[in-house]
Symmetry: C2
Subunit: 203 residues, 2 copies
Amino acid sequence: MTKHKDNQTEDQILKAAQIIFQTKGMDGARMQEIADKASINKAMLHYYYRSKQLLFEAVFNKAFSLLAPELNRILNDSSSIEEKIKNFTDNYISFMIKHPYLPGFIIQELNRNPKFIEKLESNVSFPDITKFKNQVKNEIENGTIIPISAEQLFINILSLNVFPFVASPLIKALVNVDDTTYQTILEARKKDVSNFLINAIRK
Amino acid sequence: MTKHKDNQTEDQILKAAQIIFQTKGMDGARMQEIADKASINKAMLHYYYRSKQLLFEAVFNKAFSLLAPELNRILNDSSSIEEKIKNFTDNYISFMIKHPYLPGFIIQELNRNPKFIEKLESNVSFPDITKFKNQVKNEIENGTIIPISAEQLFINILSLNVFPFVASPLIKALVNVDDTTYQTILEARKKDVSNFLINAIRK
DNA sequence: AAATTTGTTAACCAAATGGTTAAACTAATT
DNA sequence: AATTAGTTTAACCATTTGGTTAACAAATTT
C-alpha cells in the first residue's frame, strides 16, 4: 500500500536511541554510537528524525508516556488510599525492575532542561493528583489515616518507590551489597515499601 | 616568601567549575564556559588542573567529601535510631536546601561512571552502616521498633530525604506548585519526614 | 518497462571542543 | 639593573561531532 518499507529501520533507530540516551543522557550520547547500535548508517538517523534534538525528544516522550498513564490511572481510580499505595508500589517497582534506567533518565533530563516540563504538562495524560488530595482529606476526616499533608504523602510515596532506582550505584555502595543482592532488596521492596507506608499513616 | 601568588585563581576556577559541573554534568560542561565564569583564560584551567577529567574529579571529590562525613558521623554516634532519624533528617535537608544541586550531581555522575564508586569506597570517610545495622537489630529485640530490615530502613531514610532534591522539577510539576511553594514544602519536610519515619517504625 | 519516489550509503563539511604552545607579563631574588 | 621563576594570554591545533550531499539501490506508480 504505502511506499514505506515496513518501518523496521525507524524502530531499530528508536530502540538503539533509547538505550544510548537512557544510559548516557542527551549530552553524553553520540549519534554515531546510536547508528552503530542500530546497525545502520548515521545519515539514516537524520533521514528519519532530522536532528539529535528531535530523536532525543522522540525517546523522551515515549519514555514519559510509558510512565505517566499508569501513575494517572492509579491516582484516579476509586480504591482507598491504602489500596492505592499497594497497587502503586507493586506495579511501579515491577515496572522499574524491567526498565531501571527510565526514572533516572527522565529526572536527569528534566533537571537539564526545565522547559521540557511545560510541554509535558500540556500533555493529555499528565498525572493529576487532585482526586488523590481530596481522598486524603476525606480519609483523615473519617479517621482512617493520621493527619498528613497530601502533597507530603505523595512525595513520600514517590520517593520510596523511585529513589532506589535513580540512585542505585550510590545505594549499592553505601549498603555494601553486590548487584544480585541489590536485586533481591528491590524485589522485597514491592511488599516492604507498601507495608512501611501503610504503617506510617495508619492510626 | 614563595613566588606563588595567593591561590585565588585556583579557587576561582574550582568555584566556577563547581557551578558548571553541578548544573550541567561532566558531559554538558564546557571548559570555555568554566573559564568565562571564572573570568580567566581557558589555558589557566589546564595550567592548574591539567585536564577536564582532573578538574571534574577535584569538583566531584570536594562535593562528596562535603556530604559523606556528616552521614558517617550520624551513623556512628551513640544516639538511638529515633534520634538518628531526627538528626539526619534535620541536618541533611537543611544542608541540601543550601546545596540543592549536590545530590543530583553525585548520583548522576555515579550512574555515568560506576568505576568512580571504587575510588570513593577506599576513601577514609566513606560511610559505613555496620553500627546502624546492629543498632536496628538491638532495638527490634528490645521492642523499641517494629521488625524491619536495616538495609530497607536505611534506604527509606535516604529516599525520603534526598529524592525531593534530586527530582525537584518533576515533583514540582506533579504536585503542581511553583518554586516558592516547593521551598516551603521542603522546609516543612525537616520535621514531617522524621515524624513520618518514626511513625512508620514505632510500635 | 520507464519513470518516479523512497531508502541507504560513503564521503564530506563546518563548527565546536579539549588541549597546547610560545611569547609576554609580573614580581620577587640576586 | 639583571635574572629567574611563576603566571597569564592569544593564537593555534587535532579531533570529534552533528549534520549534509550526491550518488546509488530498491520499490512503486504509471
